[in-house]
């Protein structure tokens, strides 16, 4: 095992290479493109025995991924943001086919206005599709979770495609030390995909795209997907345990950092959660019993583990890097549904929206969120959800709007 500096994109490419992928349907999009560029180079150098096909869109790319996975080969593909949404119809379809493969999504905010920087609205849009979701906080996790993702998705009791999510820029273009596992160790952990009797063969054609009328057969098939996803809760635990045994690194479905005696707990997903981890250490030094709960597995939703990690806490501070327009933070809603009416649920459940379009979250903002939460726990009054946005930022915005106002007037369209 060698430890080297590696970007999140390189870690994703290494995960695919070590998993011995057979097929890569591809379509470029920033900030994901480096992943398929790297795989393309390796294929060209004969370092990776796989076939890559460029498609004209993510819709066709995901169709091809599902079709290839149905034949029993190991498939990898990657996209980001607008691309994930362009292929959205097929996310639901291939999950319904029960075709397992790994799709890496490099999170990036959605238009309009258009941006290159990350938030989680792209991946949240895919949460109801039947794809399982793993959210990474470090480059090491990206590599490790690709291997875990294949083994979980291909499990005979699951058979669902998996999205491994990493944040654009904050992981995709950021180098960190990554332990690169040895190939024999990976082979011992991740055997070749065995589709069993479900393998599609050209000589024995079947139709994957069956039509059903009347709600009952439809309900049956969709709920079987739901049950398979729920079964993945245990499968994930088993696979993560096997991974820890093989490689010595634990990747629990829910990371609980300094939670045992914590009173105020942050709840976050993705790479920004390491900022919360840092804030927890600093808050502890200042005498605040803070902790962090990070769902690594988001689909299936590890409800029981989240309840256990948050039991008896004074307050939970959910920081959503997404916004369900007209409702608020998605993670906050999901956590509320998991905690409502449960014995020992945190006294206060606060919602903050932060990090939209890559907007940074400062250490002082974590400290202040903890202070607001402590006050809410003390008074029993939970403040309304808040967007992390400062007066300074609004002044900057107003400056740009003043320019737009002048332009508007010059164009003869006085507002």
């Amino acid at each position: 095992m060698t430890r080297q500096l590696m970007t999140g994109n390189a870690a994703a490419a290494w995960g695919a290479r070590l998993a011995d992928i057979d097929y890569v349907p591809a379509f470029p999009i920033t900030p994901q493109t480096e992943i398929i560029e790297t795989l393309s180079r390796w294929i060209g150098e004969d370092a990776l025995a796989a076939r890559m096909t460029m498609f004209e869109s993510e819709h066709s790319m995901i169709t091809a991924a599902g079709a290839a996975a149905a034949t029993g080969v190991r498939v990898f593909t990657a996209t980001s943001s607008q691309g994930l949404l362009y292929g959205m119809e097929m996310l639901y379809a291939v999950a319904g086919w029960r075709a397992p493969f790994v799709l890496v999504n490099v999170s990036r905010g959605l238009a309009a206005p258009i941006t290159l920087e990350p938030d989680h609205n792209d991946i949240m849009a895919a949460r109801d599709s039947g794809f399982l979701q793993i959210h990474c906080a470090t480059c090491q996790e990206v590599l490790d979770q690709m291997l875990i993702g294949y083994r979980m998705g291909e499990d005979a009791g699951v058979r669902l495609p998996v999205i491994v999510n990493l944040d654009g820029f904050y992981l995709s273009f950021t180098r960190e030390p990554v332990d690169l596992p040895e190939k024999p160790a990976v082979d011992a952990f991740l055997p070749p995909f065995d589709p069993g009797p479900t393998r599609f063969r050209a000589g024995k054609p079947v139709s994957q795209a069956v039509a059903v009328l009347g709600g009952a057969p439809y309900s049956y098939f969709r709920y079987e997907v739901e049950l398979a996803a729920r079964a993945a809760l245990n499968v994930y635990d088993e696979v993560a345990e096997a991974f820890a045994t093989q490689f010595g690194r634990r990747h629990d479905a829910v990371e609980a950092y300094r939670c045992d005696d914590a009173e105020i707990v942050f709840v976050m997903i993705g790479s920004f959660a390491t900022k919360a981890r840092e804030a927890v250490d600093r808050l502890r030094e200042a005498g605040t019993a803070a902790g962090l709960v990070r769902p690594v597995l988001l689909r299936p939703f590890p409800e029981a583990k989240l309840r256990a990690a948050l039991r008896g806490k004074k307050a939970a501070v959910v920081v959503d890097q997404n916004i369900s327009i007209g409702k608020g933070g998605v993670l906050h809603c999901e956590l509320a549904s998991a905690l409502y009416g449960q014995k020992g649920a945190p006294g206060a459940l606060l919602s903050f929206i932060g990090g939209l379009g890559g907007r940074d979250i400062g250490a002082e903002e974590f400290f202040e969120m903890a202070a607001v939460a402590a006050k809410a726990a003390e008074t029993g009054e939970t403040p309304p959800p808040r967007l992390l946005y400062t007066g300074h930022e609004l002044r900057e915005m107003r400056k740009l709007q003043a320019i737009a106002h002048v332009e508007h007037a010059e164009a003869g369209e006085t507002p």
Binding site: E278, E364, F367, L388, T390
Partner: protein, 309 residues
């Protein structure tokens, strides 16, 4: 934790500089995080990159707002507000500038108390892409915990895909910059961690409800791209030799991806230097080889001389 930010332009090796320094720290046993940040991925556009190094695993992420060291590879960026060179520069920070001007000038000009260290500007005509590596070499000496051999190994590792001659000349440039900073070894010390006891309370606001005429993301002005002087991004300048130019016009003008070459009344092609980004496609395409590429820095020096004469 060491927090170091590099500023420069696309093509000057800024990302490589941050990686050389990051790898050098890593070879010394540090935990490291390095990343470039760019909007327009184009030669000459302002970019920055940052390096964090610490003994413990690094949980901090994102752009460094309180740098211990800011390295400026291209001093023409300092007055460009969008480049953000001075963001978070405190009295304890150090500013390393690749410049022909002395530190006092920069302290006075910028009105900052931060210590300014000058890396003498590369001689005119030197490899532009080595500027970043030189700055990385100098920065490695300033932190004082990186051995010369680790710096050299880092350069070789980061340039492994480059031709041997480039690796050798870049290694020489980085090591010579490292040696030149001997007197300043160790002036950069690790910055402190944030304190949850004593912090500036964020001035969060309630977002105002604005009319859609204001809150829709529209640009109302026409031809705004004309106002953006992308010519500032140029590191090489195309210069037409009108003696050789055959006035065929359409070749250089049609190939110019920025439509920055127009035709004068007398048939001469004219390059709009406010918007030429220096891609050098016209230089490559010109049938009679009448367009020459010269380093922008030389062109500017020549212009200044001409003006003062």
């Amino acid at each position: 934790m060491y927090r170091i930010r590099f500023h420069g332009r696309g093509g000057q090796g800024i990302k490589t500089a941050s990686r050389i320094l990051g790898t050098a720290f890593f070879l010394e046993g540090y935990e490291v995080q390095d990343a470039p940040r760019y909007g327009a991925e184009r030669r000459g556009a302002p970019i920055f990159a940052y390096v964090r190094a610490a003994n413990d695993p690094i949980n901090e992420r994102g752009v460094i707002t309180q740098p211990d060291l800011v390295v400026v590879v291209d001093d023409s960026l300092v007055p460009v507000p969008a480049a953000g060179v001075l963001v978070g520069l405190g009295d304890e920070s150090v500013l390393l500038i690749d410049s022909a001007e002395p530190p006092e000038t920069w302290n006075r000009r910028l009105n900052v108390a931060a210590r300014v260290i000058i890396l003498p500007a590369a001689s005119a005509g030197a490899e532009v892409t080595q500027a970043g590596a030189e700055c990385a070499g100098a920065a490695a000496r300033l932190v004082g915990v990186i051995a010369r051999a680790s710096l050299e190994a880092a350069v070789r590792q980061e340039l492994a895909d480059m031709p041997g001659a480039v690796v050798e000349s870049t290694a020489r440039a980085a090591l010579s910059a490292f040696d030149s900073m001997a007197a300043e070894e160790g002036v950069i010390t690790e910055g402190t961690l944030a304190s949850a006891r004593d912090y500036a309370v964020p001035d969060w606001i309630e977002m105002p409800v604005d009319d859609v005429s204001l809150s829709g993301p529209a640009v109302h002005g026409g031809a705004t791209s004309v106002q953006v002087r992308t010519g500032l991004w140029r590191t090489m300048r195309p210069v037409i030799d009108y003696e050789r130019c055959r006035r065929c016009n359409w070749v250089c003008g049609s190939f110019c991806p920025d439509n920055a070459i127009s035709v004068a009344e007398d048939g001469r092609p004219i390059i709009d230097l406010d918007h030429c980004k220096g891609c050098m496609i016209c230089v490559a395409q010109c049938p009679p080889h009448a367009i020459e590429a010269i380093p922008e820095v030389d062109a500017i020096v020549a212009e200044r001389k001409e003006k003062s004469a």
